[in-house]
């Protein structure tokens, strides 16, 4: 480890590793630090991604693909199923990843591109000079060191501190976070589709999911909106579901975590500092999916760092491009999802059932979520008028 780098990336999740890889490929001197001793472990994810989103960043590799899924099924509170998101060309629309292996592969890509990687190394504060961020304090095996860099990347996930240290308030209100619990279960029929169960019985203000991880195993979990959650509720409701609907299931792993569902926050950059991924609250407010958004944001952040280096300017003058670009792409989709999330929150289970019934006789199996929502708006103009722009 040196005393000075061009870029220090804090956190080796998908956001951090893609940022580090992009910067290193652009010839920058990069340090990627991760406070855990094992990258990717413990997992805090249901591991579902779309094939298309993933392929923008990395060639799918069987080492970290646990299962391939045909599409999605949304299940209304009364059991009505809507089949969607099937991919006509490939038969496979999405993957359930093995994040432990995936996250490590991404970090390895960053390392191969030239980034230095340090595990069990935690950022504990920022260094400043003339009002701009210019380094971090890092704790490794109990020793604190100061390391300088022109730009610091906060890719430190849901528990992000980097933004706060840099004067960016990323605190989530209860309504901005899903409280999640999941079991990896075996001895069940996992099927070929990712399943999303809606309704207050399963997950107030969220949904329950089943993502196949192989023939007889699946990630079964749920997220509850923070504003509707009570102490320990996520785990309690998950246990209840498993007991009732899959009593034969054997639990091989327990996963817990919080998912940001705030929609775009006001600020994700300042002089010498960028936030990416969950640290920037960039996961989708409707689905909770954050892997692809984190990678997309990491790519943009890396490209902007390369430009800043060329210009020799690490202030907002050059870094603003990051804000502009992610908001015009990921941010736009997040805002649309936030509207749908807020609308769904107002619906009773009966109204959700009616929505599902309104699709009877329609073939929406090849549609993605935005296209499906358009059909719903046409079929239910009164219920969905709020969504119109």
């Amino acid at each position: 480890m040196k005393d000075k780098y061009d870029i220090i990336v804090v956190g080796a999740g998908p956001a951090g590793s893609i940022t580090a890889r992009t910067c290193a490929e652009g010839g920058l001197d990069v340090l990627l630090i991760e406070k855990r001793q094992e990258i990717g472990d413990p997992v805090r994810c249901a591991e579902g991604v779309s094939r298309e989103g993933l392929k923008k960043h990395i060639e799918p590799d069987d080492r970290w693909i646990a299962a391939k899924v045909k599409g999605s099924k949304i299940i209304a509170p009364d059991g009505t199923e809507i089949r969607m998101s099937e991919d006509a060309s490939s038969q496979k629309a999405g993957y359930t990843l093995e994040r432990k292996v995936f996250d490590r592969a991404l970090a390895q890509h960053a390392a191969s591109a030239g980034a230095e990687v340090m595990v069990k190394t935690r950022a504990s504060g920022l260094l400043h000079s003339n009002g701009a961020v210019n380094g971090i304090k890092a704790v490794y095996m109990g020793d604190t060191r100061e390391i300088k860099a022109d730009i610091i990347i906060g890719a430190d996930g849901v528990e992000s501190k980097v933004g706060k240290w840099g004067g960016i308030d990323t605190t989530m209100k209860p309504v901005d976070i899903e409280s999640g619990a999941q079991f990896l279960v075996s001895n069940i029929e996992a099927g070929e589709y990712s399943k999303f169960y809606l309704g207050g019985e399963y997950a107030p203000g969220g949904y329950l999911w089943l993502f196949p991880k192989g023939k007889n195993t699946a990630n079964v979990g749920l997220g509850i909106l923070g504003s509707k959650s009570e102490k320990g509720m996520a785990l309690l409701l998950l246990r209840k579901f498993i007991e009732k609907h899959m009593p034969q299931a054997k639990i091989l792993e327990m996963v817990v975590g919080g998912v940001p569902v705030s929609g775009p926050i006001e600020k994700t950059a300042t002089d010498g500092l960028l936030l990416v991924g969950d640290a920037a609250r960039q996961s989708d407010p409707l689905t909770g999916g954050g892997i692809i958004n984190a990678m997309d944001a990491g790519k943009i952040a890396g490209e902007v760092c390369i430009k800043a280096r060329e210009a020799g300017d690490y202030s907002m003058k050059t870094l603003k491009e990051y804000e502009d670009r992610w908001r015009a792409t990921i941010g736009k989709n997040m805002s649309a999802s936030l509207k749908v999330k807020n609308m769904l929150l107002k619906f009773t289970d009966d109204q959700l059932n009616n929505l599902a019934h309104s699709l009877e006789g329609e073939d929406v199996s090849k549609m993605t979520l935005p296209a499906l929502l358009k059909v719903l708006v046409i079929k239910n103009p009164r219920m969905l008028w709020e969504l119109r722009y």
Binding site: V158, E159, I177, M233, V256
Partner: protein, 56 residues
């Protein structure tokens, strides 16, 4: 003022850290550290997926 963390229940996911309005919590290795700036607002208690936090 403080919040008590049951380390035997805690899944060290960091959700509580993300919602603390005063930044009093931090996830270090496999446990949550609580600073004395905690105001006992109780938000973290509701968010914790496994119920490992408690206001004393």
């Amino acid at each position: 003022m403080s919040v008590n963390v049951n380390r035997l229940k805690c899944g060290y996911c960091g959700a509580c850290v993300g919602v603390c309005p005063v930044g009093a919590l931090e996830l270090i290795e496999t446990w949550i550290e609580v600073e004395n700036t905690c105001t006992e607002c109780g938000i973290c208690v509701k968010i914790c997926p496994v119920g490992s936090l408690e206001i004393l």
